[in-house]
């Protein structure tokens, strides 16, 4: 049954990405000399307007099972490849744009306070707007080329914003690391798109998915496509082994970490896999790989989070770990819980980052948790909102994280993937532990601040605390979007999107039963025990961490050094590239290429020296040569033609 969409959809859907684009263009061109300190108004208003339009789109889309497609013009016409600039607003992309525009609006408002007085104020807001535009194109695009465009554009913005303080060497290096690591994933991603086009002759979502369902392609081809696409997702969503860039990305300003490296951009991989659910569902191998990588990343990154002392790095590893959860869910066919977790994670992780930013702001830039403590009563708004985010992240009833995380664990268990379930459960325990370690180290106990810093502790301005409160509220109640479990508003909304994939997988919806309740109790118990353990370690007996560290010295050192992944990369990939480049430089560039170039020069030098004596500088010699030349030529003519 075709649904008639209201005609105003034709312009509001393209307008959603166009608004932040306009804000970007105006701010970047007029910001430096004209808008200056007022640079936040236009981006915030554009973002808020985009949010309102997203709500309108949602209102329309919820009435239809299929998505709304609008084509503006043909963007790339090359032979068989016809790529239209088209937008596709279905239930999945609508859920995404509401989250993106909503969270972005809050973070833009927060940035007004956080970035106040920064010399790059206008630059910051223009990049943020460009990012919002790119992200919206990524989720609203109607084909893989637009997805890829948005994909690369958000990567570019991420690079700009990580290196926002470009005068800091570490920030510039982190930006490069993010960009280069993502190239590895994008290499696979673009190959996947090429293979899709070669196999199905189209890149428009609806056509591709129909082709997969109706004709299909060999299992090998589908596996190859899915794995190549997943490679891109691993890069963008920081999955092992391409996760290394995300913790370093914390060099950027905190609102950037919240918006790009927690709430939106890094979830692009999850969105892409969910969007391509039909493709992934067609390959068991690919599903297994997605689930395996996701589960491994979840526990792997969580373990690193235990030993980090930089407040933002703890959050970064937590993000990597939570993204692992999402992929784990996607891999077992729990599409909706994955997206649900994506949304709730966006709420509480944005909150946690913004809260950390507020702490850092209060402490004049201090990020090391060992030099914090006792902030509970000093910055109460930050404390209470951050606590709400922490409970949500730990997955304690009834906060947002509980519903989504528990659902993922529940489905993996009921699916029979017991190993993955167990891994997820352990990761949940670790998550609760390190999250509350952060809370206790930062806010509880006595102050360990530098005296100079302590004098200036202050609560952040309203522009920062209000977004915190809104997100805190969402972290508290956001989970009820998915209530009752597996049959909430959110699930019914997204169900049509994943029906084809579920049909391929043969997934049936089971009613919520006793087993779910048991699993819920187990996972809450695990989370609470993580919190209690953290309480013992970091409040009651604070010599315990050291003792435990000493007892398991090698293990502690390994997680403290992030399992030496960076070192391993340095010793293998980086070393190989550098040594290889140096070898090529010396043996090929310097010897062969330069040899040829210098040889050409040498040739003329030598031959020039040989004929140089002929150039005597005396007019009469030249005249003589001329006569001789004429004589030779004349003689030749005479000999050839006769007299």
């Amino acid at each position: 049954m075709e649904h008639e969409f209201a005609s105003y959809m034709n312009w509001i859907v393209p307008l959603i990405p166009a608004l932040p684009l306009t804000a970007f263009l105006v701010t970047i061109f007029f910001g430096k000399w004209f808008i200056k300190e007022q640079a936040h108004w236009l981006p915030i208003l554009a973002m808020a307007a985009a949010f309102v339009l997203s709500l309108l789109v949602w209102w329309e889309v919820r009435q239809a099972e299929e998505g709304f497609y609008v084509e503006l013009f043909t963007w790339i016409p090359v032979g068989d490849l016809q790529v239209p600039l088209a937008f596709y607003a279905d239930r999945l992309s609508t859920a995404m744009i509401m989250m993106v525009t909503g969270v972005a609006t809050l973070i833009f408002i927060y940035s007004k306070g956080y970035m106040h007085g920064d010399p790059g104020y206008y630059r910051f807001f223009s990049y943020l707007s460009l990012f919002a535009f790119s992200m919206l194109v990524l989720v609203l695009g109607a084909n893989y080329v637009m997805l890829f465009f948005g994909w690369e554009a958000v990567g570019l913005c991420s690079y700009y914003l990580i290196g926002f303080y470009y005068h800091k060497t570490s920030a510039a290096a982190a930006g490069k690391k993010a960009f280069i690591t993502n190239r590895v994933g994008d290499f696979g991603f673009s190959l996947g798109i090429f293979l899709l086009f070669v196999t199905f002759g189209t890149l428009t979502y609806t056509e591709v998915f129909e082709a997969v369902e109706v004709e299909g392609a060999g299992t090998a081809t589908m596996t190859a496509i899915a794995l190549l696409l997943f490679m891109g997702a691993m890069g963008k969503s920081a999955q092992f082994p391409l996760h290394v860039w995300l913790p370093d990305a914390m060099e950027g300003p905190t609102p950037v970490s919240a918006l790009i490296h927690a709430a939106t951009m890094v979830t692009a991989g999850v969105y892409m896999v969910a969007r391509s659910s039909v493709i992934f569902a067609s390959s068991e191998t690919a599903m297994l790989v997605v689930a395996g990588i996701g589960a491994f990343t979840a526990i792997f990154a969580a373990s690193i989070g235990i030993a980090q002392t930089d407040i933002k790095r703890v959050m970064a590893y937590s993000t990597v770990s939570q993204l692992g959860y999402m992929f784990m869910a996607l891999g077992v066919g729990a599409w909706i819980p994955a997206i649900f977790h994506l949304i709730t994670h966006a709420f509480f992780k944005a909150l946690l980052f913004l809260g950390s930013g507020s702490v850092i702001h209060a402490l004049s830039g201090e990020q090391d948790m060992r030099r914090m403590g006792g902030l509970r009563s000093r910055i109460p708004y930050t404390y209470w909102t951050l606590l709400s985010g922490a409970i949500a992240l730990s997955g304690i009833f009834p906060f947002a994280g509980f519903w989504s995380k528990d659902e993922i664990l529940g489905i993996t268990f009921k699916d029979g993937a017991y190993i993955i379930w167990a891994v997820g459960l352990v990761a949940a325990f670790i998550t609760a532990f390190y999250t509350f370690r952060l809370i206790f180290m930062t806010f509880w106990n006595e102050s360990r601040m530098e005296p100079e810093v302590e004098k200036h502790v202050h609560e952040s301005p309203w522009s920062m605390t209000v977004p915190l409160m809104v997100l805190g509220g969402l972290s508290l109640v956001g989970g009820f979007l998915g209530f009752p479990p597996e049959a909430g508003v959110f699930h019914h909304f997204l169900e049509p999107v994943f029906e084809p994939a579920n049909e391929i997988l043969g997934i049936h919806h089971e009613a919520f039963g006793a087993i779910d309740l048991t699993l819920m109790i187990v996972s809450v118990a695990v989370a609470v025990s993580g919190v209690i353990l953290a309480y013992f370690f970091y409040v009651r007996q604070r010599d315990l961490p050291e003792k435990a560290g000493a007892a398991a010295q090698p293990l502690y050192k390994a997680i403290y050094n992030k399992w030496y992944i960076d070192e391993i990369y340095d010793a293998t990939v980086v070393r190989l590239v550098i040594d290889g480049s140096r070898f090529l430089w010396r043996s090929f560039d310097a010897a062969v290429i330069d040899g040829i170039v210098n040889g050409v020069g040498k040739l003329w030098e030598v031959s020039g020296a040989a004929v140089r004596p002929a150039q005597t500088g005396k007019v009469q010699n030249y005249a003589g040569m001329m006569f001789a030349g004429v004589f030779v030529l004349l003689s030749a003519v005479i000999i050839a033609y006769g007299l």
Binding site: P613, Q615, T616, K618, Q620, A623, F627
Partner: protein
């Protein structure tokens, strides 16, 4: 009676070679310039000879042009020689070899 064309040609060839030898061998710039005039006049004689042979005035026209240009060229040439002499106090051609490679 007509003088045969060959006579003109032989005469002009002699004159031309004498001029050329002068240009190539003499060291004094004035002599070199004079030798150039000789070569030019050898050409003129050729032109006159052919003018007679073909019984028209085209060759004579050319000669008038050549003489005019030669006069101008001699004026410029002598001016250059004068200024060279003022700078270097000599008019020996072989002493001017600044462009030696």
């Amino acid at each position: 009676m007509d003088i045969p064309i060959e006579w003109y040609l032989v005469l002009s060839a002699f004159l031309f070679v004498i001029g050329a030898a002068g240009v190539l061998t003499r060291r004094n710039m004035f002599i070199v310039l004079l030798s150039i005039e000789l070569m030019m006049n050898a050409v003129n004689i050729n032109l006159i000879g052919f003018s007679r042979l073909h019984d028209n005035f085209i060759g004579q026209h050319f000669v008038l042009f050549t003489m005019t240009v030669a006069a101008a060229e001699a004026a410029v040439g002598l001016a250059i020689v004068t200024s060279l002499f003022r700078n270097r106090q000599t008019t020996m051609v072989d002493l001017f070899d600044l462009l030696k490679g």
